[in-house]
């Protein structure tokens, strides 16, 4: 493989194996339960058919992978500053990426790639459809040289040795390193929501597929149901809930340590290099000036343990596929302490932002959530409870709901604020996890202000800052102050004409 990528070239021939395995895995995943059912139901003679089926899938995957390998070429167009990928087995697809639109380059290695000794390279762009290119097999040196070319554009005359030196340097001085002990603390204190969702999704599939299996085995469902309900007493319910909570914590721990094992961040010729992962090592390179929103957040436990979670949001365009794409463009860095946070902020924003002038919302902030989340549902519940006798014993629950709810809304009101200094906008919000979102005025794409007619007299209004990585809202602020801020930000954005990406 030549190292300047100026001529169209294929990926490493090992790519056939990787792609084949990838296709097999995909087909396997889709038909897994089909196979289980077939396995259970079938008679002895159809065993050969099953084996034939599996063999067919393998052969098909390999042929597909081989064709894919033949048709997949890529090269760098130095003159136009473009990276061009040709692919497609039957149809001919050409993906052209302008180098200055590239947001990040990921160099990954999954188990199979690790065994063969190749790397996968993924390119995230800011293209209109957020389309990305993924090269499945490339050797390490080529991967890093290509990355260098992609991220630095014109000024790349790097020889192999320099890259290796660069790698050594990066390995020598990571300014943030996550120890296993910190990882444990992170796992115990953050991302409960995501783990919960995972758990629910898992149980849903188990129950759904389990039913199909039961049908296949012709087991009497009623019998199982009656034994299950027979086991449900108050004590067992509590034990069950406790078990679930422990399970949740364990899943959280495993997930965190799988994802962030040996997380290291280092500065690498003006880009940030993040590497982490237990089995599959993941390297991500980001250039700091492409980060749109920098967030650090902390909850009560984390405050006691002196640690924070940070996330760097980059631009996402087009339709986000139900959060998929947005997650791909958000880099999470858990378990920093205050010093490491400041170090990172300095890298990304050139200096540590200070909260200079803070604006707090009006007390009317409380009105809408209390009405829609408390008064409305509780009154509907009460009306129903007075008419349906079965609901009456639960009326005390409504009081508890209102008390907790009002308390939470009040906390969110106390936390909701925006701090403005000459160079930064910091929006603070949250109930349990208190997040600070930092935006440089330069990254603002558009500003919206709005006001309800009944707030005109009391001079209360709302503000939305649109950035390429999402919006920032400030609700129920002093409208005169908001207007003044907007004029100031507009002045900042319009007078400088700096690049926002």
């Amino acid at each position: 493989m030549n190292n300047d990528f100026s001529k169209p070239q294929r990926e490493s021939a090992f790519g056939i194996i990787i792609m084949g395995a990838h296709t097999m895995l995909k087909i396997g995943k889709a038909t897994f339960f089909l196979f289980v059912i077939a396995f259970v139901k079938m008679s002895g003679s159809s065993f050969t058919f099953l084996m034939l089926g599996i063999a067919a899938i393998i052969v098909f995957s390999l042929i597909f992978a081989y064709l894919w390998y033949l048709k997949f070429t890529f090269f760098l167009d130095k003159e136009k500053q473009e990276f061009v990928v040709n692919k497609g087995i039957l149809n001919r697809d050409q993906v052209i990426i302008q180098l200055d639109k590239i947001q990040q380059v990921n160099i990954n290695q999954n188990i199979l790639q690790k065994m063969i000794g190749v790397y996968g390279l993924k390119i995230d762009t800011a293209g209109a459809h957020g389309e990305e290119v993924s090269i499945k097999a490339i050797d390490e040196i080529s991967a890093y040289i290509l990355k260098e070319h992609l991220l630095n554009g014109e000024n790349t005359t790097i020889t192999q040795r320099e890259v290796e030196q660069d790698n050594d340097k990066a390995a020598a001085a990571p300014f943030l390193k996550l120890s296993s002990w910190t990882l444990l603390k992170v796992g115990l204190t953050s991302n409960y929501g995501q783990s919960l969702a995972l758990l629910v999704a898992f149980f849903y599939t188990v129950i759904y597929e389990g039913r199909q299996l039961l049908d296949a085995f012709k087991i009497d469902k009623d019998e199982i149901q009656s034994t299950v309900t027979g086991m449900l007493t108050i004590v067992t319910v509590f034990i069950l809930i406790a078990c679930l909570l422990i399970l949740l914590l364990i899943i959280n721990l495993i997930r965190t340590s799988y994802k962030y094992f040996e997380l290291e961040i280092s500065e690498h010729s003006n880009t940030l290099l993040l590497s982490s992962g237990l089995i599959a090592k993941k390297n991500t390179l980001v250039s700091p000036d492409k980060v749109q929103i920098t967030t650090y957040s902390q909850n009560y436990f984390q405050k006691k343990l002196n640690m924070l979670n940070m996330s760097l949001k980059q631009a996402h365009f087009g339709q986000s596929k139900k959060g998929h794409e947005m997650q791909g463009n958000t880099l999470e860095i858990p378990g920093c302490n205050a010093g490491e946070r400041d170090e990172l902020l300095k890298m990304i924003l050139a200096k540590v932002p200070l909260k200079e002038k803070t604006f707090i919302p009006d007390w009317r902030f409380l009105n809408l959530p209390i009405f829609f989340k408390m008064v409305l549902p509780v009154s509907i519940f009460l009306i129903m409870a007075f008419n349906i006798p079965e609901l009456k014993p639960y009326m005390s629950a409504a009081i508890l709901y209102v008390m907790i709810g009002v308390f939470m809304i009040y906390i969110s009101y106390r936390r909701h604020r925006i701090s403005v200094s000459q160079d930064f906008i910091i929006k603070t919000s949250g109930i349990w996890d208190i997040a600070n979102e930092i935006v440089v005025p330069n990254k603002i794409q558009a500003i919206t202000t709005f006001q309800y007619p009944w707030h005109k007299g009391v001079d209360v209004g709302h503000l939305t800052l649109h950035t390429a990585a999402g919006q920032i809202h400030f609700k129920h602020g002093n409208y005169t102050e908001i207007k003044q801020l907007v004029n100031y930000w507009l002045y900042q954005v319009e007078s400088r004409n700096e690049n926002w990406m």
């Binding site: 800011a126 919206t448 709005f450 006001q451 507009l490």
Partner: protein
């Protein structure tokens, strides 16, 4: 139109950084907004009439042919009429409230039926511009202008009901400015 105080855009060698008095900055809230073309109200009416005609035909057909629906006629028809009247009223209010302004460095668009919302897009953040002409718009020589930013669905401005000549003029003006912003070598004169 509002003008910006002179900036240090082209004098990189003599960079100064004076304290800015926020009161002296141009105020977006005081800009005189241009209203939409009066003919646009006719287009809104045509669209509403088509919608309600289709809805009315469906309802009439249901009332006529399906026996189960017939007893409900006494509330379906009043609901239909209230919807029709309120839709016209709401669109009238919304039409009256919309307005736009093009400043030297940004575009302002105001809209909203209940809440009045103002969106400002700086010219140097515009990604691309679209000029659309609908079927009815073409009859009345109107067009709608869309300004897209990288802020996604929410951060874009859609101004409908501008006279087509005016819309084309604005589009050319904006494109001109975008070009100047992208090639700063050509001398930029903000007071054109």
């Amino acid at each position: 139109m509002n003008m910006f105080i002179p900036l240090n855009m082209h004098t990189e060698t003599t960079f100064t950084n004076e304290v800015i008095n926020p009161d002296l900055l141009p105020k977006y809230e005081n800009v005189q907004l241009s209203r939409l073309h009066p003919d646009y109200w006719k287009i809104i009416c045509i669209n509403l009439l088509i919608f309600f005609a289709l809805l009315g035909i469906t309802i009439a057909a249901l009332l006529w042919f399906v026996d189960e629906v017939k007893p409900n006629a006494k509330w379906i028809i009043p609901v239909y009429i209230t919807l029709l009247v309120s839709a016209f009223l709401l669109f009238r209010v919304s039409f009256k409230k919309r307005g736009y302004a093009i400043r030297t460095h940004d575009v302002i668009y105001k809209s909203g039926i209940i809440a009045e919302s103002t969106t400002i897009v700086p010219l140097n953040r515009i990604q691309h511009i679209e000029l659309n002409e609908g079927l009815f718009s073409r009859i009345y020589k109107l067009g709608s202008l869309q300004l897209f930013t990288a802020g996604g669905q929410t951060g874009h401005i859609h101004i409908s009901g501008i006279a087509i000549d005016e819309a084309k003029r604005i589009r050319d003006l904006l494109l001109n400015k975008l070009e100047q912003l992208e090639n700063p070598s050509t001398e930029l004169n903000p007071n054109e």
